[in-house]
Symmetry: C2
Subunit: 195 residues, 2 copies
Amino acid sequence: MDDHIAAVPLEKAYRLINHGPTVLVSAQHEGVTDVMAAAWACALDFSPPKVTVVLDKITRTRGLVEHSGVFVIQVPTVGQLKLTSDVGSMSLFDTADKLAQCGVELFSLPGHDLPFVAGCSAWLACKLLHEPHNQTTYDLFIGEVVGAWADTRVFRDGHWHFETASPDLRSLHYIAGGHFYAIGEALSVDPKDAT
Amino acid sequence: MDDHIAAVPLEKAYRLINHGPTVLVSAQHEGVTDVMAAAWACALDFSPPKVTVVLDKITRTRGLVEHSGVFVIQVPTVGQLKLTSDVGSMSLFDTADKLAQCGVELFSLPGHDLPFVAGCSAWLACKLLHEPHNQTTYDLFIGEVVGAWADTRVFRDGHWHFETASPDLRSLHYIAGGHFYAIGEALSVDPKDAT
């Protein structure tokens, strides 16, 4: 396990995707592993933490999630801009060596038989909560987060530190047609006294 | 209608929230209007465009959405940082003049009997798709987008232009505890030939 990777308490796992980054979704089943990009992933609950992610029927990853019942949501970085775009535009159905062509390196984390993508800034190990109606009608999958980790150079003590970390570690936010934005300036406000 | 506001074609409406901004959700019913902040909103489909949004049972907005069957998802700006934090921390259940205290100004758009929040950069008029299981179990609401508009100073020709617009028009991305990030630098990549 990389020196920079540390576990994140589950009750703070939602913070890893609360700012709406484009994520990578990875899964494996019977020796097949795929990684895709997803702009449509979102926190759903704090405790236990849950997430939603849209997995189109044309993706190979979707079948792997359906069959294995587990998947990883991870937050790619500005340094992985091309990798993120490439895994989002190529399909394992057409290109058997997609992951090698895209430069994806996988690693393991203790206690989870899942393919984690190296070089990301945060990882959420998820267990699929079967909701056949949502999956069939909306391509909408719900996962319970059962493990969370982050790169301590950019997320520690329960907070992102994009403003002081390397710009290469910023999160990516996809629009369309190869156009992304990196996350930007930190802003703080004192919450109003709710009286 | 403000000179800077223009309709966005429905097939491009997803782009208004594809980068994962924190949004404001507004709704009205029988003379009651509320506006809340939501970090957990996400695109769900392209055509017809759909969105998901998590509306907690403690919010007044949720009941207004359930009863009226319609709501607005809008994208607040850096210039609305305090307003966004304030509408997210105060409740109309406790504070009858919440909207006035938060400095919310509402306006109308033709053909939609909905409360649009002035000063935002984009607006999605949504029709609730009733999914009682999702609403009850997960606080998860699905809306079909039936109208979309944007401030042409920062979104036009189907694309955001944060990099050339006023920094005050950038989107907000909430983490926790009053900590937000603004959207940042534009990045582009040529999609890989998917062969």
